[in-house]
Amino acid sequence: LKRCQISMDMHHIEKSFHRIKNTIQMKDVFQNVTILSASETLYNITPSDVCCMTKDVLGLYVDKVFRNHEESDPRIQRGLSTIANSFLHIRNALEQCKNQRNCDCQKEATEKFQIIVGNYEQMEVKAAAIKALGELDILLSWISRNYRPKATT
């Protein structure tokens, strides 16, 4: 993200997820399956691919994951709304970077993103959505580590 500097609110997104993490993860009964498993996909993405990988994964969440999950508990609804709207803001900003050719994917990153999509689409729609929501801590940690706020004195 370094070439494509956008203002993120990672601290509050992480706080929102932290409040609903256990409730969401308990609904995921497939403990032996993972969509975002760090070691296969998000691990050692080159810095130049971080922007496009972020844009694509956020796009998966915005276009599919949040939509495929129905939630009746207002507390969870509010937490997910914070994250969905924040992802939407970030993805829209990254789209503008793409238009300025600052956010292109190289082959390896595209392949890794396809692994994620494959993992997601192997599962039944609702089970996949709840698992992907439960793995937001993996995604948020990865984004935090690849995006450093401006150095201070």
Partner: protein, 221 residues
């Protein structure tokens, strides 16, 4: 012979307690079985992998904790732990933790703080806490390497003026110049990582007296 899964109550409050990636599974004994010779058996699962794995060192133990640091060493993964109670031929169902994410949930321990008093200054050298090591011979991994944004919140309390103030630093050495000589100052340091509410243990309060002012000493002689 395998125990019979009967109505034995499950262990309760099964959680991971983690400081500097030393990850210990702990639980409370089930209601109604306290004080009896109940024993416990532990398993763990690496999230996304197929099978639950036995922790051989924690089979049929009577304590209510089990160190899983070795098995949960990769802090990029997430884990579950589970424990069941065994009493004679009867055993309870498994009691499971929530999904445990060491990178997010470990508590950052206090740094090592070395103070050196000067006449009107105090030098502070900080050593970042280290990640739990699989064995003593292994190279140390500093928590600073795992959390590059790790910072230190250093507080200094002047016992004469009763004022306390803070310095937020990223490097490991700092000096408090222009202090008052022959004065007791107390310093406490907390390592912290900006981001989600990660718990952090501050160091103990260390108090030290700045040296006497040599020049005024000579005058007095």
């Amino acid at each position: 012979a395998p125990c019979v899964s009967s109505g034995l109550p499950k262990p309760i409050n099964v959680t991971f307690s983690s400081v500097n990636m030393k990850n210990v599974l702990q639980w409370n004994s089930p209601e109604g079985l306290r004080g009896t010779d109940v024993v416990y058996t532990v398993q763990y699962l690496i999230y996304g992998q197929k099978r639950w794995l036995n922790k051989s060192e924690c089979r049929n133990i009577n304590r209510t904790s089990c160190d899983l640091s070795y098995d949960t060493y990769d802090h990029e993964e997430q884990y579950y732990g589970r424990v069941k109670a065994i009493w004679g031929k009867h055993c309870s169902k498994w009691a499971e933790t929530e999904r445990f994410n060491p990178w997010l949930e470990t508590q950052i321990g206090p740094p090592v703080v070395a103070l050196t008093p000067g006449e009107k200054s105090i030098s502070v050298v900080l050593t970042a806490p280290e990640k739990w090591k699989r064995n003593a011979e292994n190279n140390s991994v500093s928590m600073h390497q795992i959390y590059p944004t790790l910072k230190y919140n250093v507080s200094i309390y002047n016992t004469k003026t009763n004022k306390k103030w803070y310095k937020f630093v990223t490097n490991h050495t700092l000096e408090f110049p222009q202090l008052e000589s022959d004065t007791l100052y107390c310093i406490r340091v907390q390592a912290y990582v900006p981001g989600p509410r990660r718990k952090a243990k501050p160091s103990d309060n260390q108090c030290i007296t700045t040296l006497k002012d040599q020049t005024s000493e000579l005058k007095v002689k």
